[in-house]
Symmetry: C2
Amino acid sequence: MMPRSERLTSIGHDDIDDIARGAAVLGAGGGGDPYLGSLIAKHAIDVHGPVQLVAPEDVPDDALVLPVAIMGAPTVIVERPPAGDELARAVEALSGHLGRPVTHIAFFEAGGLNSMTPIQTAAETGLPLIDADGMGRAFPELQMVTFSLEGISASPMVLADDKGNVVLLQAKDNVWAERLARVATVEMGCSAPIALYPHSGAQTKAAQVPHTLSLTRDIGRLLRGARAEHRDPAAVLADAFDGRVLLRGKVVDVSRRTSGGFVRGSARIEGHESHSGSALELDFQNENLVARLDGELVATVPDLICVLDADTGEPITTEALRYGFRVSVIGLPCDARWRTDEGLALVGPRYFGYDVDYSPLERGQDDASG
Amino acid sequence: MMPRSERLTSIGHDDIDDIARGAAVLGAGGGGDPYLGSLIAKHAIDVHGPVQLVAPEDVPDDALVLPVAIMGAPTVIVERPPAGDELARAVEALSGHLGRPVTHIAFFEAGGLNSMTPIQTAAETGLPLIDADGMGRAFPELQMVTFSLEGISASPMVLADDKGNVVLLQAKDNVWAERLARVATVEMGCSAPIALYPHSGAQTKAAQVPHTLSLTRDIGRLLRGARAEHRDPAAVLADAFDGRVLLRGKVVDVSRRTSGGFVRGSARIEGHESHSGSALELDFQNENLVARLDGELVATVPDLICVLDADTGEPITTEALRYGFRVSVIGLPCDARWRTDEGLALVGPRYFGYDVDYSPLERGQDDASG
């Protein structure tokens, strides 16, 4: 997916709501609802002024780029966004370790709450922010970034919590970075600000999914427009970004538990109107992973499976999903990099324990939207 | 307890067995059996030459002193002593972080396997070693050192495992250092080489328990001598170091489990000979913590409670204790610092969950040795 209109060059207070709504869509159910984070980002902009947004192609090759995020279970991180100086401390700790100043803040994950974290960090540190991220969506584990595909190490990586603890990891590989950061995050209270995958401007151009912040703004705008014009938000979104409406219906069952820093569970949605008689089973681990319509696989990770409120188009995260919600489930295509063999090894359905091959959304059955 | 003879000035291959045996006594049942570690220390000395041992009073005030150890459950660390370059990597990582070279290696814990870890590290790095430690025995948690009493921070602290992972902690306080290091250790496989509490030579003089390596050598020699002369090793040891024989008898019950990086459990020892009709209950968490004789408290942490093979005087660790062993249980006085209010807050019986006040070993009932 690419932005549809002119790109953002700065982020002001009034851009935040559209970005947050678009980021919630890219969250594919995960990444945490950006709402509280959006309040903090607005406050940071109010205090420090608008954030300068730089296109990845305009970043100097010798820049020192640092993606930042919050790690943890969405059920927890949405209630504990970083309210102190922990993000700035994480950036400072990594600058100190590397022995040179970070020049640009980047998005680790454009989907969910972590769309807001780098905006807040850029505002607080006064550093420019890059309009790009490492996922083009949200994923539950920290090795699941395009940076990994380009051979960039997650390490040195910093976790900095609100109590004043700083953990610096130099992990053997990105999977070990995930393991060690996860246990530290759980001990810190199931959420922790992180700064990781430090890399050069040259690597930004090769490794990042470009212009995803502009994309979130466009998605947010579209949903806002659809609502104002009383158009079907799910159809508008699917049309605009080569996606498909998978089912419209009512949530009839949700099971969910939080363990080891993850939210895992499943939901059942029974179709209504033109989808009467059909049912969609949705599995998630922080993010929506696999959708089966009447037992047939219709969408799998890494494509985006998003649940929207049927009327307002508001994205619904996996931790907010409730019995009785009337929803539209849509599929949106992921970044092309995730569809390569290397990409699928990192984030395909088999990694998550499903004994199915990935099949691109577009090759599924005909659009079920009616 | 203080050494009884001239102090060591270097550690050669032939010193290791006495030191290891003495360190097992100071381990008070914990700290892990030094046997495998002693083989590695001997090998390091064979390859790199004897280790220079410096008395704490002779360390220059501006020295950068770094204690090293292995963290983890004794049941695991005795099977996984550091066989690669992980200790040297930990020292190097901390030097790099501090921006200046470590000048002296120190003992974190003279009791148990961690008597061997710094010898190996000093041999491998070529750095001098200080004849002192932070406990004068072994304790299960990393804030339980005299360094804490002097306000020295455990941070910056490094964990370096055999897989190539390095974790650098800048914890808010020493209890947080323990919490974060513990979860990282468990994730690394329940054992991890650590380097922590970096401090100056001036601080070494104020904070360390002096001459404990010479003490371990003396204890080891005494036990070896007692065996050669067919004297009772428990009585020899108690006499030499103001301790008491608490019971001679047979182990009739042991329960033990390993969880969260600790070995916890209890043992029952029924008296024989002059102690016939008495029974001693022993509780441990890595180390022996509390001894009750016929229901009466006779010794508690921080004093040392040591279980020795009745005939050979070989110290028996909590993970090696078995039904049927004939043993002598002795109490030895801890360093005076542990008997202050600050010391007891850190390592007294109440910290370990026992609703009893500490009573110095010497104030207990009359010596039960007969």
